[in-house]
């Protein structure tokens, strides 16, 4: 095994890593905002909005992310829009993230006792105020660790932008191994880089989850 070539190509791998991180962060933020809108729409928007948005969420969660990325990239050019690989990847990952995150938000909201929102309404708050002041703060100990866990998945899912030719870490690694004929070493290094990104975050999630759970219990009662 020749590691000299690997070392020589490390700066390229780093550049790919930066693209990966950029992609993940952008999609996460966009997905959170869109996911909040979807969750709010489904909770506050009445039965029709709930059904419509629910169907959209089910379609996104019921099809592979890889296919969604292709739909956006190839579909855009088929209808005359020109989307670069990065833009298509961000859009695809954001929509995918929004669908999953909206379920995390709704699940967290659903975990708050129904009586809490009734008490908020009984005191004269509007449904939106009740959601914001009473329900969401109590849903956070459930939602935040789940969001963090999702981000780790998102970091790994950016590898699927490979099929769009985007030079994120996995595609960069493939290009290098095709050039240097060192698929084994490069694959290992690429895997190691993802591991270094994800594993510490996973440990952080465990700590945050335990902390939030303790805090939630300390304040919870019937």
């Amino acid at each position: 095994m020749d590691w000299a070539l690997v070392v020589a190509n490390f700066p390229l791998l780093l550049r790919g890593t930066l693209t990966t991180i950029e992609l993940a962060l952008t999609a996460f933020v966009a997905g959170t905002l869109l996911g909040l809108l979807v969750a709010a729409g489904r909770t506050l928007g009445g039965r029709d909005a709930d059904l419509l948005l629910g169907f959209a969420v089910d379609v996104v969660r019921g099809s592979p992310l890889l296919v969604q990325l292709l739909v956006i990239y190839l579909g855009a050019s088929a209808i005359g829009l020109s989307l670069g690989p990065f833009a298509a990847a961000v859009l695809g990952l954001s929509i995918n993230a929004a669908a999953y995150l909206s379920e995390i938000f709704r699940g967290g909201i659903g975990s708050v006792a129904h009586g809490q929102s009734e008490a908020g309404l009984a005191v004269g708050l509007t449904p939106a105020q009740t959601l914001r002041e009473v329900v969401l703060p109590q849903a956070l100990p459930v939602i935040v660790p789940a969001m963090m866990g999702f981000f780790i998945g998102l970091l790994k899912d950016t590898s699927l932008a490979y099929v769009l030719g985007l030079l994120e870490l996995t595609r960069m690694g493939k290009n290098i191994m095709d050039r240097t004929f060192q698929p084994f070493e490069i694959s290992l290094v690429v895997a190691a880089i993802y591991f270094v990104l994800c594993f510490p975050l996973a440990q952080l999630v465990r700590i945050v989850d335990a902390r939030m759970r303790a805090r939630g219990l300390a304040q919870a009662h019937v």
């Binding site: 009734e118 009984a122 004269g124 703060p137 919870a220």
Partner: protein
Amino acid sequence: MSTGDLSRAATPAAAIVRVDHVTKFFGTLKVLDDVSVDVSRGERLVIIGPSGSGKSTLLRCINGLEPVSAGRVIVDGMVVGDPAAPLTRIRSQVGMVFQHFYLFPHKTALENVTLGPIKALGMGRAEAVSLATALLERVGLPEKAREYPARLSGGQQQRVAIARALAMRPKVLLFDEPTSALDPELVGEVLDVMWQLAQDGMTMLVVTHEMAFAADLADRVIVMDNGAIVEEGPPQQIFTDPRTTRARTFLTRLLKRSERHHR
């Protein structure tokens, strides 16, 4: 009548709450069966009856937590559920105290009480705090203002819940089995606060199993069974000589039990 007037239907001057032939279904289950009752300002109405008789549902129809299937509820001239009468306004006139308190666990006692006035009434923070402090004093818990609900006993939590309901300056207070979830030794402190409220002239609708308290507090007692009002009258008459068989059976069973407890 123009649409604006529909929400201010004509009512007898003294009735602050009118329940007008209300029927309520949960799916195919009839929970309220043509219930009608008028509550006057300052009246203390106690509702008793077996579990599942619709007592809680009736209260929840009055403050709009449950929509009615037929009939109407009119609170202070406003029809509950009418688009012209926003529920937030009706609920600032009708306060509710729940069996399980439902204090907001992420807020201090003081913040629980100030939330409604600040967000729903648009009150300034300083004014809301002084109002809340006065109310916490009124329920006997001035020193607990900065405590979180988890550090309060059940009786203390319920008293804070009463202060929270009072903060909106309601015309009517609904109590849905306020002491049923409390340990027996904590019941008294909540009943004392309720008694004081009654002395101060608050209109109260109370669903309870505390028969001795009900007999003392009530101006009028309603007995419900299977979603309908089966008997109505002054406490002395209801508790000593109920007229209908259903009321009689229920009360005998219940009074026997509470006698055993009071010995």
